[in-house]
Amino acid sequence: MTLEASVPALRADRLGKQYGHVWGLRDCSFEVPAGSVVGLVGPNGAGKTTLLALTVGLLAPTEGQVAVFGEPSRAQTEGTLARVSYLAQDHPLYRNFTVGDMLRFGRSMNPRWDHALALGRMEALGIPLARKIKALSGGQQAQVALTLALAKRTPLLALDEPVASLDPVARLEFMQDVMAEVADKGLTVIIASHVIAELERLCDWLLVLTGGRLQLSGPLDGLLAGHAVLTVPRQTQDADLPGAVLSRTDSDRHSTVLVAADQAHVAAAWQPGWLSEPAGFEQLVLAYLRRPPVAAPAGRSMVGEGTAR
């Protein structure tokens, strides 16, 4: 167990994927410990789906690699496919299948399939096995797709925008279900989303992607502790502030700045008249999302693991 716990659930090493001449993802390196709930945040086209597809073995990397529990993911190999469950965006299912057919599909395509788990979930959710997929509500379809992923019995679960098409009630129920299963089975889960508020309640690890570049990676509490919001006199120069300035809002006499600096750094640079507050999740994510992608490598190395532990 100790050995297993020390192997990261996910480890990307200079991972890159090129589509024609365009890099969908580039120079992406990070580590996520087992048991994490990872929020993968970024605008549309940032490379979130690419990262997930590389992880689950639907795509082959152009350069670098991503490893799941120490084993590098290789496109369409049985070993990789058996290690990760994937719930694609819009939870695709065969519309003409019944729910029962869909479960049987999972059983005949996966050697470690847990049919009792699948049937139990359908019963608990009140989804009749004889009903056609196309006759289910969006929330029920998402639940069937999630059940397929869970009953595959893999240590890593990759969810791509799992709740984007759901109404608020269905969203809440769906995510509660995911978290209950994750806690119950000790899974590692990576959730790509652009609904930042949704992730704040769930994640304990954060990855921020923009323009195919990784902007930020680390445990949520570490990242929050590694940033501070300072209110300083307007004439204060960026160079006098601790760490890198991520965002700055100037008013008449004061400026509000988000800096990548932990308490010790803030204390070391402290000047009278400053006010310090802890950084908020949404504020932090937005600041990194707004930064131009080219600045990524510097931002990553500065923030990354240094402040993490």
Partner: protein, 294 residues
């Protein structure tokens, strides 16, 4: 995987079964009628007695009577392989790509190349059974007519390997077109149009082009005056031969004809053409899908 393939093609299998039943009913009715006429007209007895030499008028009457009724069957069978093959082939990958279900299918614990090869093997098997069954009933139905007509042309009448191989060719083109267009309907249309090319070549090879003719000189025994290319039975003496041209030189005839024995040669040429196109299309599809992790 086998169950998944069956479930995804169940509807198509039912449609094929219904098609087979419709063709079989028509073929059995026609075949039974032909057989009763064959004996009641005395054609069978005449053939047994003289090998066809004295049966000119009764053969003529029989072929006149049945060449019409077999036409609808031929027309249906003419378009069937293209339509059916494209309709079964195009959704196999086209629908997965169009509806996004490929992300589901290919993220289970079955690598996509194995997924595709299993699907192809099972569906091709089903199509072969369907093609062979339809060919069998059509061949049975046409039996009496084949005894007295030009056999070498019968690829066009969907005996032998023609129908099955033509069907597989359209299917393979459907699979490839569905993959390239990522769309079911578009894949069907493109596959049907593409299938017309090998189909046209095969039709020409086994029909109007007469690629396997033989020329020989025959001595006239009972006068060359009445001999013509349309004589029944043909001047070559074999009911299945098709005489294309005939020249008189003294008491000899120089005859160019397509012997009935070339039936299987023509069949193999057509089958080879269809299967080569099919293999190329399926090979390309498998290769593209294997590579398509980009």
């Amino acid at each position: 995987m086998i169950w998944v393939t069956w479930r995804q093609h169940r509807t198509q299998a039912v449609v094929c079964l219904a098609l087979f039943c419709a063709v079989a009913i028509a073929a059995v009715a026609l075949g039974a009628w032909m057989r009763s006429t064959f004996s009641s007209d005395g054609l069978g007895a005449c053939l047994a007695r003289s090998g066809g030499a004295d049966c000119t008028s009764v053969i003529d009457a029989f072929t006149q009577k049945f060449n019409g009724p077999v036409i609808p069957l031929g027309v249906i069978l003419f378009a069937l392989p293209g339509f059916l093959g494209a309709a079964v082939g195009a959704p196999l990958l086209g629908s997965e790509l169009e509806r996004g279900t490929w992300q589901l299918a290919w993220s289970q614990t079955v690598p996509r190349t194995r997924w595709l090869v299993t699907q192809l093997a099972l569906v091709v098997g089903g199509l072969v059974v369907f093609g062979a069954a339809v060919t069998a009933v059509v061949t049975w139905a046409r039996g009496p007519l084949d005894e007295v007509s030009m056999r070498a042309q019968t690829p066009l009448n969907f005996e032998g390997l023609y129908l099955t191989c033509s069907l597989l060719c359209a299917f393979a083109l459907g699979v490839l077109a569905g993959l390239l267009l990522r769309n079911t309907i578009g894949g069907m249309v493109v596959a049907y149009i593409a299938w017309e090319a090998p189909s046209l070549v095969a039709t020409l090879l086994s029909g109007p082009l007469h690629i396997l003719t033989v020329t020989k000189t025959i001595a006239c025994t009972n006068g060359c005056a009445r001999a013509s290319a349309s004589s029944i039975p043909p001047v070559t003496g074999n009911l299945g031969d098709q005489v294309l041209s005939l020249t008189r030189t003294g008491n000899h005839l120089i005859v160019t004809y397509e012997p009935a024995s070339r039936f299987w040669t023509l069949q193999l040429i057509d089958a080879g053409l269809f299967l080569a196109v099919a293999a190329a299309a399926l090979g390309t599809a498998i290769w593209l899908l294997h590579r398509r992790t980009t």
